[in-house]
């Protein structure tokens, strides 16, 4: 087990290192200086600015500098907003995205799991058909379409909820639902196929035969096994929710890190782009790492060869 954790940790670090290296060289492969797009600067000033951001050093020194800074969790300064550190930006905007993301994950689980159970329990009946229609719609309609439609019909037409912003719990409902819709459908499908498979197993028949009630069989015996793939999916789910926030935060004008990330792309603020990419990547790798470890611990069928 310890060996497995160590190995997984090593792979995560390796992946992170590759991402850092790739993004560093991608950013530096671009010709011209970052400031050439703006007004032409006098050479002396340009030299000064380059020296300030360490751009005058040879490439390998810059690379090592970036690596040591990142190891110290220092993401550098924004090139677009003078005097703002990327760390400050992340500290200010990430909590907003994180709360939206957490809310969505809760909604995904609260909506997706029951939907999947109901549909598996009534396989082939109308409940199953209805939930399968919802699921099919969920995985085919892109998040921004759900968001825009919800905004138009619920906020603009019916005036039930605020159109944009993220101030009160009322503001959170639409973005949360829009962000979780796709994954809710995905989880429902996952639970359904897992349940259908598990319900045909011999031990379920045995449990029924010895006189246990249907509820006990479903919740105590079947669900436990059907839920496992969902836990394995939590890592990709976190990644999906995170990138989903780019779009949802834009539609609802939520001041989260996703929206900031996208605007830094159009501002070509390279230090922010790189810093936030590395931050996101590290965050996701950590999530996937934790999920993998949990999965091995709770599923007794996985035997690690050592």
């Amino acid at each position: 087990m310890g060996y497995y954790i160590l190995k997984r940790f090593f792979y995560s670090l390796l992946s992170l290192f590759i991402i850092i290296t790739a993004s560093f060289f991608m950013m530096h492969a671009m010709p011209g200086s970052v400031y050439t797009a703006e007004k032409k600067l006098p050479p002396a000033i340009e030299e000064n600015i380059k020296a300030k951001y360490g751009l005058d050093k040879p490439l390998h020194e810059q690379y090592l500098l970036t690596l040591t800074n990142l190891a110290k969790l220092d993401f550098g300064m924004s090139m677009h907003n003078e005097g703002r550190g990327v760390n400050d930006i992340i500290e200010e905007h990430f909590p907003v995205s994180a709360s939206l993301g957490t809310l969505s994950i809760v909604l995904v689980l609260l909506g997706g799991v029951p939907l999947g159970i109901v549909s598996a329990m009534n396989k082939g009946k109308w409940q199953d058909n209805v939930s399968m229609v919802i699921v099919t719609l969920g995985v085919t309609v892109p998040g921004f379409v759900v968001a825009a439609l919800a905004q138009y019909f619920i906020s603009v037409k019916l005036k039930l909820l605020p159109v944009m912003g993220f101030d009160t719990p009322k503001h959170w409902i639409l973005p949360g639902v829009a962000l979780s819709f796709f994954y809710m459908a995905f989880i429902a499908r996952l639970i359904r196929s897992g349940m259908v498979e598990v319900l045909e197993q011999d031990y379920i028949r045995t449990a029924r035969a010895k006189g246990l009630s249907k509820a006990v069989v479903v919740y105590k015996h079947a669900l436990k096994n059907a839920v496992l793939p969902v836990i394995a999916f939590l890592g990709p789910l976190a990644a999906g929710i995170l990138t989903g926030t780019f779009v949802i935060e834009r539609v609802f004008s939520i001041p989260g890190l996703g929206r900031y990330f996208i605007s830094s792309i159009s501002n070509r603020d390279y230090t922010v782009i790189m810093g936030v990419t590395v931050f996101y990547a590290a965050f996701l790798l950590l999530m996937v790492f934790i999920v993998d470890i949990i999965y091995v611990i709770i599923d007794p069928r996985i035997k690690l060869k050592n």
């Binding site: 992946s15 492969a29 671009m30 995985v139 892109p142 379409v145 138009y152 539609v251 996101y280």
Partner: protein, 323 residues
């Protein structure tokens, strides 16, 4: 018990010694097609996909406006007889723009899937066929690439490509496609090089089991080279799986493209893709809802038909479903 000779009869010479085949033998493809035809949903989707392709390819020539033409004095029209989908704020016909957007989205879906298919099949095939240390190394690499968040990587790639000072046509291969515009090529490349992991893994698995078959031994005994065995014997035998994965990858690519375009990382103006049309419409959602409705509807229909058809195809081509 006594056995009398009366119990025995001479065999009628016309009766064949073995059992006759119950049904005419079908090739893999005939069998798959037969099963696909029985699946009503898949067949409806196949027809819908054909119509979508026809609309995207021929459609723009059938309407009198081009996607970038601004008709002065006809800005912001609601859907009417002249402009079935209305016009946008610059007086451009929305029907023309949506059809053009469909063309872009479909082309991204198909081109990206073909690039992914090629990389994935070659990578997975080589890894599975040669096995051993090489396989181990190649699969560890896949594990690492797999743990890199794809969307972030695609966004990063698009940031580099969309830098006005980067000229991707300097690369020799890409200079052939100059006519398509830099942004579109960037999307092809960015999406085409990121989503091949699944294909590589599955092809590897198939090749790993297929290479133990007798026909591989026979081919090798006849002196076939490794490359010949791999590409003439093994890969053609996993073609069913490859087609199914490609078919399901097309909507994924279209999905990601619309996501990128929505964020402003997609095609450049005046070109339009379904995602960028939806993004442009967002600002005027209160007054000009139809500008959002039509492109959104087009994305949903494309996604739905491709996904359902892909599911049907999987059921039809999966050998385990074969009776």
């Amino acid at each position: 018990m006594e056995i009398s000779t009366e119990l025995f009869k001479p065999l009628n010479k016309r009766t064949p010694a073995r059992e006759e085949a119950v049904r005419p033998s079908l090739t893999y493809w005939k069998d798959a097609w037969k099963r696909l035809k029985k699946n009503k949903v898949a067949m409806i989707c196949l027809m819908a996909i054909t119509l979508i392709f026809l609309a995207a390819i021929i459609g723009p020539y059938l309407i009198p406006y081009s996607y970038s033409e601004q008709i002065r004095g006809e800005e912001d029209l609601a859907p009417c007889r002249e402009h079935l989908f209305g016009t946008d704020g610059l007086g451009r016909d929305m029907l023309a723009r949506v059809l053009f957007g469909m063309r872009i989205s479909l082309s991204v879906g198909i081109v990206a899937s073909i690039i992914n298919l090629t990389i994935g099949v070659v990578y997975g095939g080589i890894s599975g066929y040669f096995g051993g240390k090489m396989d181990n190394l190649m699969m560890r690499l896949v594990d690492i690439i797999d743990s890199i968040p794809t969307t972030l990587y695609v966004i990063l790639l698009m940031v580099v490509f969309k830098n006005p000072e980067v000229n991707i046509f300097e690369l020799p291969v890409l200079s052939l496609f100059k006519g398509l515009g830099a942004s579109l090529i960037s999307i092809y490349v960015a999406l085409g090089t990121t989503y091949w992991i699944t294909m590589a893994r599955i092809v590897r698995g198939e090749v790993l089991s297929l290479k133990e078959r007798e026909y591989v031994t026979a081919a090798k005994a006849l002196g076939a080279s490794n490359m010949r065995v791999l590409f003439k014997h093994l890969i053609p035998n996993c073609i069913g799986t490859i087609i199914v994965i490609t078919m399901l990858q097309i909507p994924t690519a279209i999905f990601v493209e619309s996501f990128l375009s929505f964020l402003g990382l997609g095609v450049d103006v005046p070109m339009a893709s379904l995602g960028s049309l939806a993004a442009d419409a967002l600002g005027g959602i209160r007054s000009y809802f139809y500008l959002l409705a039509f492109p959104s509807l087009a994305i949903c229909v494309i996604m739905l038909t491709f996904n359902l058809f892909g599911d049907g195809l999987r059921n039809a081509l999966d050998p385990r479903m074969r009776k």
